[in-house]
């Protein structure tokens, strides 16, 4: 992979590069450079298969990490482009014109993370959730357990005991510690 990343390094200013295996590497790219790099990879370097486009929510850093994973079948190699965008107004240029299947990924990211891809076909159409009223569920600030308890009401009548406190109540209730 070293040769590929070096070649890319000469053409574009890349962020940090992690070489996971000899057939997989991840490269950080600036958001506006993404389209250029990915088009170059697809047309020149032979990475013609878009494997996946997903988002990772780094809530501590206030950032979404968009990962574009493309695969080159002849050389049997993958390269993942990492793009960091702001968490609050998360928008990114779509790549639905390069791969028609990217439109589906972008629809899912819009519904699940709230990342907007202006111009992507049917971006605002309901994809998975129907009549969803809360914030996009895959964001880390959405607590699914609390939502489930408030909305669906688990079956009552269950209670658990912690062994240590139970033994304290039973064997030495008066003691301080």
């Amino acid at each position: 992979m070293k040769d590929l990343t070096d070649r890319l390094g000469t053409l574009f200013s890349l962020g940090d590069i992690t070489e996971k295996r000899d057939d997989l590497a991840f490269v950080s790219v600036a958001p506006d450079l993404l389209r250029a790099v990915i088009t170059h990879l697809r047309d020149v370097e032979g990475f013609t298969h878009l494997v996946l486009l997903t988002a990772v929510d780094w809530i501590e850093g206030g950032q979404f990490q968009l990962t574009y994973l493309v695969h080159n079948r002849t050389r049997a190699r993958d390269i993942g482009l990492r793009v960091f965008i702001d968490r609050e107004e998360a928008t990114m240029a779509g790549i639905h014109d390069l791969w028609p299947t990217a439109a589906t990924y972008q629809r899912e990211l819009k519904e699940m993370f709230g990342i907007d891809f202006p111009g992507s076909p049917r971006i605002d159409e309901e994809f998975i959730l129907e009549g969803w009223t809360d914030i996009p569920p895959y964001r880390r600030d959405f607590d699914t357990k609390k939502y489930a308890e408030e909305t669906y009401f688990h079956r009552p009548g269950r209670e658990t005991f912690d062994p240590a406190t139970h033994m304290k109540d039973k064997l030495y209730p008066g003691e301080a510690s």
Binding site: G131, Y152, F153, H154, R155
Partner: protein
């Protein structure tokens, strides 16, 4: 069974922003073949809006027992696999487990089915379709819940999209536990259901009619995209 609490029970209806009605459900003016202009109201014309009634037992016990015997011996399951448990119903259709010898078979439409098997977890989107399918089935109708997901949420107990207790949304006659229950357990469950029906205790449909408001309130509390009348058969 959990005590039935009248609709006042704390299930706050989420405040729902007004949703645009789907294109095919909006009223539209259509020219009939003979040139007249009529307006089609899908939400009214396609449904029959009448709340369900409690069906009293037949006039004589002997006759009711006969009916129950007939109903029990012909459990026609609606072919709607709502969850992952449906895959274990397929072997029942094959000669190896041969559910047909017990009078059990699968029917494509709710009109011809009298047993609705909720086969595992039920996401909100499928719940809406399940409710419509259930309401389109003819009385007497029974519901069987498969797997731990219908009892107390199962593996998806903390998921934001699956219901946790089936008995809050549909009247359930029988539960078969397992993740997912095997074909043999399903057969044992159906035979158990036969006993319940023959004993005249298969009153799920009537319970649904009696506590109709409570069920509707619960259903509307989780289904936000409610673009159909309350009862659509």
């Amino acid at each position: 069974m959990e005590a039935f609490v009248k609709p006042g029970e704390k299930n706050r209806l989420k405040e729902r922003p007004e949703r645009p009605v789907k294109q095919e459900l909006q009223p539209r003016v259509v020219k009939t073949p003979d040139g007249q202009e009529i307006t089609v109201e899908p939400l009214k014309d396609y449904y029959c809006e009448a709340p369900p009634r409690v069906h009293p037992p037949a006039y004589a016990k002997i006759v009711e027992d006969l009916f129950n015997w007939a109903r029990a011996e012909s459990l026609w399951i609606l072919g709607f696999g709502t969850g992952c448990g449906a895959i274990e119903m397929r072997p029942l259709m094959t000669p190896r487990f041969d559910a047909y010898r017990y009078g059990i078979q699968w029917r494509p439409t709710p009109r011809q089915a009298n047993l609705f098997v909720i086969s595992g977890y039920l996401s909100v989107k499928t719940l809406k379709r399940a409710i419509r399918s259930y309401e389109q089935m003819q009385n007497p109708k029974y519901v069987v819940g498969l797997g731990s997901c219908t009892i107390n949420g199962g593996m998806y107990w903390d998921s934001y999209n699956t219901i946790k207790r089936l008995d809050r949304y549909l009247p359930v006659d029988l539960y078969i536990t397992g993740c997912m229950p095997r074909p043999e357990a399903l057969l044992a469950g159906f035979l158990e259901l036969k006993k319940i029906i023959k004993a005249g205790k298969g009153e799920g449909a009537n319970r649904y009619a009696e506590n109709f408001d409570w069920y509707k309130a619960n259903q509307k509390q989780v289904i936000h995209d409610w673009d159909m009348p309350d009862y659509s058969w």
